[in-house]
Symmetry: C2
Subunit: 332 residues, 2 copies
C-alpha cells in the first residue's frame, strides 16, 4: 500500500503533531486492573477529555487554523457545530488571534454556546436543520471572505485528528503493550480515519474499529454497501457528539480502505462505560466519548485475552445528565 | 539550609522517583482558561486522581514496599487505613507479589473494603477508634512478623510522596510557568512535606501551603503553637481522606520548617471545587482531593495575578455523593 493512497499521508500527520506539541495536552493512556477484569482484556484508555476544550476536536481545528496565511488570519474563520468542534475552533482562534464566528443550532444547550463565547468567539444562533445550518455557514463565510473550517471533511482537519494515532502508538510502546485492537468513536469519521492512517505505519498489527450509536450507524452500513449511505431519519441517541447524517467524502475514502469495521452500540452501553470510567479511572466522559469502551463492555466485539486501546474522545457533558447516569449505573 | 536538616533529603526523593517511574502514571498538569478566570490567577492542576488506585498514596506505598528485602517480602506487610492508603498498599503489594493485610474500620464504606480486596489484599475489619485500630495493626504485624506500612510518618513514605514535587517542577517548567504558590491537601502531612522538600531544590521561589478541612486544622494550629496539637473531638467534614487527629512527628519536623502556612477550608469550597474540576477539566476529585482548589476559590489565600499549582490529590468518591454535589453546585 503506497503512501499517497489516502487524501492524507502519514507525513501530513507527523507535521501536524509537531505543530500541536507546544499547545496541546499529551493526554495519558490510562489503565485499571478493574476495567481489565470487566472486559477480560488488557484495556488502555486514551483520555482525550483531558485535551484542551474537553475533546480531541482541537487537534484538527488548531492544525487547520495555524496553517492560515496572514491575510486569511485577518479575515477570520467560520465554523458550524452544535458542540465540541465549536469550542475547539473558538479555542484555536483565540490562541492564534484569529476572529471566529461559530454558527450553532438555536436548540443546542445554552451551556455550549456560552462556553464557545467564553473562548472569545462570536456565536450565531441558527434555526433550522443541519443541512441548512451548513449552507448558512458557507454563505456567512463567503460574505465575510472568511475561511470555513469544516468539522471533519478536510485534509488538515483529518491530519490533526490523526495525531492521536501517533501518540497512542508511542504511549503503548512505552507501556510495554502491543495493541491488537484500537476502538475509536465515530461521527464524521475524521478521528478514526486519521488515527488509522497513523497506526498503519506506527502500529501496523492493530485492527482499527469505528464505533457509532445504534440508529446512526451510517459508516457501518456504508462500509457494507461500498458506498456512502445516510441514516434513516427519526433515530435517537444520547451520544449528541456522534449524530452526523452520513460519512464524509474524504473520510469515507480513508475508512473504507483502512478500518476493520464499524460497530453499532446501544446508548445503555455508552452510559455504563461513563460510570466505569468515573469509578475506576476518575475521568469524565460524555456519552459519545465513552461509546468505544461501551462497545467492548457490551460485547459488540470479542476482545478476550487481547490488548485493546479504547479512545475516550470527549467529556463535555452536563452535570445533571452525568448525575442521572451515575445513579442509573451504580453497579458499574 | 543544609541537605540533611530534614528526616528526608532531596536525594531520597530523587531515588524514589527512579523507582516509581516504571510503574506509576506521570499524571498531567492541567489548566483551563475558565478556571484561571474564576481564580484571577494562572492555575495549574496536578491531576493525581489519575494515579494508580486513584490517589497519590501509591507513591509512598510503592516506594516503601519496593525497598523490602527478600525475607521481608515473604513475610508480608500490614497497614491500617480507611481509604486511599489501604488501596495503595494493596496495589503495591500485588505488583511486588507481597502478601498484604489491611486493617480497615468496620464502619468504612463497603466499596473501599471491596476495592482493597479487589487488589488482592486481605482485609481485616476492625471496630474501634483510630488509635485502637493502629494499635491492633501493630499487634497483627508483630504476630505475623510482617512489616507495618504507616500512612505518613515514615521517611520512605514521605520520600515517595515527595516525587510529586519533582514532577510539578519539571512539568511547570515544560509549560513555561514559574509557580509562585503550590497548594497541597494535607492529612498527616506526608504529601505536602515531601513535596516541599523537593520544591525547595527544584522550585525554590515557590511558597508551599498545606490545606486542611475546617475543624481538622491541626497542622495550622500546631504551626502557630510551634508544637504538635490534636484536633478537638466532635468535628465533622466531608473530606474523609483528611481526618487525621494530629500532625505526624517526622512530617511536622519537615512542615514547620518548610511550609509558608496551612489553610483551613470549609467543606462547601471543596465541594464547589469538585464541580469546577468536573465542568472545566473533566476530572473526578473526592472532597479532600479538591480542597486545595477550594482554598483558592474560597479566598483562603490571595493569589490574584499569580501562578499557582493546585494539587488534586485523589478521586475516590462514591457516585451518589458525587452526583449530589454536582446538583448542589450547578453554577460552578
Amino acid at each position: 500500500v503506497g503512501a499517497s493512497d489516502t487524501p492524507v499521508t502519514y507525513a501530513d500527520i507527523a507535521a501536524a503533531a509537531e505543530r500541536l506539541a507546544p499547545v496541546l495536552v499529551a493526554t495519558p493512556l490510562l489503565s485499571a486492573p478493574t476495567i481489565d477484569a470487566l472486559c477480560g482484556a488488557r484495556i488502555l484508555v486514551k483520555a482525550e477529555m483531558l485535551q484542551r476544550t474537553g475533546s480531541f476536536k482541537v487537534r484538527g481545528a488548531y492544525n487547520r487554523l495555524v496553517q492560515l496565511n496572514a491575510d486569511e488570519r485577518r479575515r477570520g474563520v467560520v465554523a458550524f457545530s452544535s458542540g465540541n468542534h465549536a469550542q475547539a475552533v473558538a479555542w484555536a482562534a483565540r490562541s492564534l488571534a484569529v476572529p471566529a464566528a461559530i454558527v450553532m443550532p438555536k436548540r443546542a444547550p445554552a451551556i455550549k454556546a456560552e462556553r464557545t463565547r467564553g473562548y472569545g468567539a462570536e456565536v450565531v444562533l441558527f434555526e433550522g436543520d443541519r443541512v441548512a445550518m451548513e449552507a448558512y455557514a458557507r454563505l456567512l463565510a463567503a460574505e465575510r471572505q472568511a475561511t470555513l473550517v469544516p468539522p471533519f471533511d478536510d485534509p488538515r482537519i483529518i491530519a490533526g485528528q490523526g495525531t492521536l494515532g501517533i501518540e497512542i502508538a508511542a504511549q503503548a510502546r512505552a507501556a510495554g503493550a502491543t495493541p491488537d485492537v484500537v476502538v475509536v468513536p465515530c461521527s464524521g469519521g475524521g478521528l478514526v480515519g486519521g488515527t488509522a492512517i497513523a497506526l498503519r505505519r506506527d502500529l501496523p498489527s492493530a485492527q482499527v474499529y469505528a464505533v457509532e450509536p445504534e440508529g446512526y450507524d451510517d459508516l457501518a452500513r456504508s462500509l457494507a454497501a461500498g458506498t456512502r449511505l445516510a441514516n434513516a431519519p427519526g433515530a435517537h441517541s444520547i451520544c449528541d457528539a456522534l449524530l452526523v447524517p452520513s460519512p464524509g467524502e474524504l473520510t469515507f475514502a480513508i475508512n473504507r480502505r483502512l478500518l476493520a469495521g464499524s460497530l453499532a452500540v446501544a446508548d445503555r452501553h455508552a452510559e455504563r462505560a461513563m460510570a466505569v470510567l468515573f469509578n475506576h479511572l476518575k475521568i469524565v466522559a460524555e456519552p459519545g466519548g465513552a461509546i468505544a469502551l461501551g462497545a467492548v463492555l457490551g460485547g459488540a466485539i470479542d476482545v478476550r485475552g487481547k490488548t485493546v486501546v479504547v479512545v475516550a474522545s470527549g467529556g463535555n457533558v452536563d452535570a445533571a445528565l452525568f448525575a442521572r447516569i451515575l445513579g442509573d449505573h451504580s453497579a458499574a
